[in-house]
Amino acid sequence: MPVYVARRVAGFVPVLFIIVSLSFFVMRLAPGGPFDQDRVLPEQVRANIEARYHLNESLWTQYIRYLGDVLRGDLGPSFRYPDRSVNELLGLGFPVSLLLGACAMVVAVCLGGAAGLLAGVRRNSVVDFLAMSFALFGVSVPNFVLGPLLMLLFALGLGWVPVAGWGTWRHVILPAVTLGTFYAAYVARLTRAGMLEVIGQDFIRTARAKGQREATVILRHAVPSAILPVVSYLGPASAAVLTGSVVVETVFGIPGIGRYFVTGALNRDYTMVLGTVISYSVLLLSFNLLVDILYAYLDPRVQVQ
């Protein structure tokens, strides 16, 4: 196992290298620069600024310099916020985004898993109907519509939770639900389909024939096989949750890194955009690795080698 993890982590390096290079050159090939949109600067001032950020060097030199900096863990100065480094800004935003994403995933897995489980066990019952209606609704309401509506109802209308902002646990509820609902719906459908498939199989009949309690049959025998599709969905889902968090952070005014990414891209803040892309990618790669390990643990047929 440690060897496997080490090999996979080593595999991150080429992937990250490609991501960084691609983003770097895509940004630089595009028209416009970080100091274009303000009023026209005097020639000398502009040259000084560009020299300070090494923008006057050849693209190739800049690229090598940037790679070297990243290897040392330095993501460079922000072009937009000259007094602060990208490390500093991401250090502030990253834990916020991570917490939001984690809560959304918990909502997705717990809510979706429970709904799908009940629907699968009580097939064609009222519970099944309700759960599947929720699932259809969930995949059809975009989070940027759901978010404002929830805000309108629970924050502005009923006043149960704060409208926007960040700080206490009450601030997390609405954004996490907004972000997690789509994936909860999808997880519910996957779980239900998995349960229906597993429940007809021989080993479940054997477990029942042994006289085990129904709860044991379901939880001990059926669930571990039934949730395998859910586990393999967690990888793509986490990628999508990260993307969705950009919108949810905008809607609820949450100081995460999603907003840095969008404003950074709009302002041509090269280092900021690269920094957010690197953080998101590292997060995603690590999470995919975790998912693969979990999968191997649940499915004895899969060996991590």
Partner: protein
């Protein structure tokens, strides 16, 4: 000559062999019996028609502002109300439908083209090439792809054409996997061997024999791609990175609505409702098609 006409018919219903008992007719019958799917289809048809004829039926020009009637709640002259600049919401929602449907169809076509080509080449060639190509797909799956779309949109201009291409270009991964899996399992079947024995070129085998037989899953997944790209367009427009004013899309309307919802809730409710209804209908139709074309299919993709 005779050999080639026999070949055209194919074993399981290549398009030319359609008869009353063909699997496609069976599927159509099953689909017709699915009430929810037919309801979805009816709603979609109505919306699509409305989108096409929007310039003629919309009650007002989409960019006409009238500050005297700013931010009015729904009335008889403005059925869905007006926004803060006095623009008619019904008109803007209708024009938004044009964007959404165009994106849904065109971006799906882009993803279809890339995905089918990539997947069929990988599955058909097999071996080392297949391994490398699919490993690449695995890696791409793990990347935060929407971030590249956002980057591309920001950097290369927010034109609608860029939007179609960027969205289609990131949506082909699952399609490639599905097609590759189908081709891989079909290419060892006897009818392919027969075609090859008759001297059909690899290209002909692929296009005439393999792909028509893989059409079911391709159609089903393409139907499910449409809501996905619509959602992504709306997502980008919501962030201000998609369709630019004065054009409106459901996403940009929702963004304007969300900004003003406390005072004028109808500004978010109507575009949101249009988008949700469309996505719901598309999901109904997609599920219905899946059940109709492949009764054994589970949700697993």
């Amino acid at each position: 000559m005779r050999a080639s006409s026999a070949e055209c018919r194919g074993p399981t219903g290549a398009p030319r062999a359609v008869s009353a008992a063909s699997p496609w007719m069976d599927a159509l019958r099953r689909l017709r019996r699915n009430r929810v799917a037919m309801l979805g289809l009816a709603i979609l048809t109505a919306f699509a028609l409305a989108a096409v004829v929007a310039p003629w039926v919309a009650p007002y020009p989409y960019d006409r502002t009238d500050l005297r009637y700013g931010a009015r709640s729904p009335t008889w002259s403005h059925l869905l109300g007006t926004d803060e600049l006095g623009r008619d919401v019904l008109t803007r929602v209708l024009y938004g439908a044009r964007i959404s449907f165009a994106v849904g169809i065109l971006a799906t076509l882009v993803s279809l083209t890339i995905g089918v080509t990539y997947g069929s080449v990988a599955g058909f060639r097999g071996g080392r090439l297949d391994q490398v190509m699919m490993r690449a797909v695995d890696i791409l799956y793990g990347l935060p792809f929407m971030f590249f779309v956002i980057l591309l949109m920001v950097l290369f201009g927010r034109s609608i054409l860029n939007l179609f291409i960027a969205l289609g270009a990131v949506q082909w991964l699952t399609m490639a996997r599905i097609v590759r899996g189908q081709v891989l399992s079909l290419r060892v079947r006897e009818f392919i061997l027969a075609a090859q024995a008759m001297g059909a070129s690899p290209r002909r085998v692929l296009v005439r024999h393999l792909l028509p037989n893989a059409l079911g899953p391709i159609v089903v997944y393409a139907t499910l791609t449409v809501p996905a790209v619509m959602l992504e367009e709306a997502f980008l427009s919501f962030l201000g990175l998609g369709v630019q004013p004065p054009m409106s899309s459901w996403g940009s309307l929702a963004a304007e609505g969300a900004a003003a919802m406390e005072a004028y809730p109808w500004l978010i409710i109507f575009p949101g409702l249009a988008l949700t209804t469309t996505l719901l209908s598309l999901n109904f139709v997609g599920d219905g098609l899946r059940d109709a074309l492949d009764p054994q299919a589970t949700l697993r993709r």
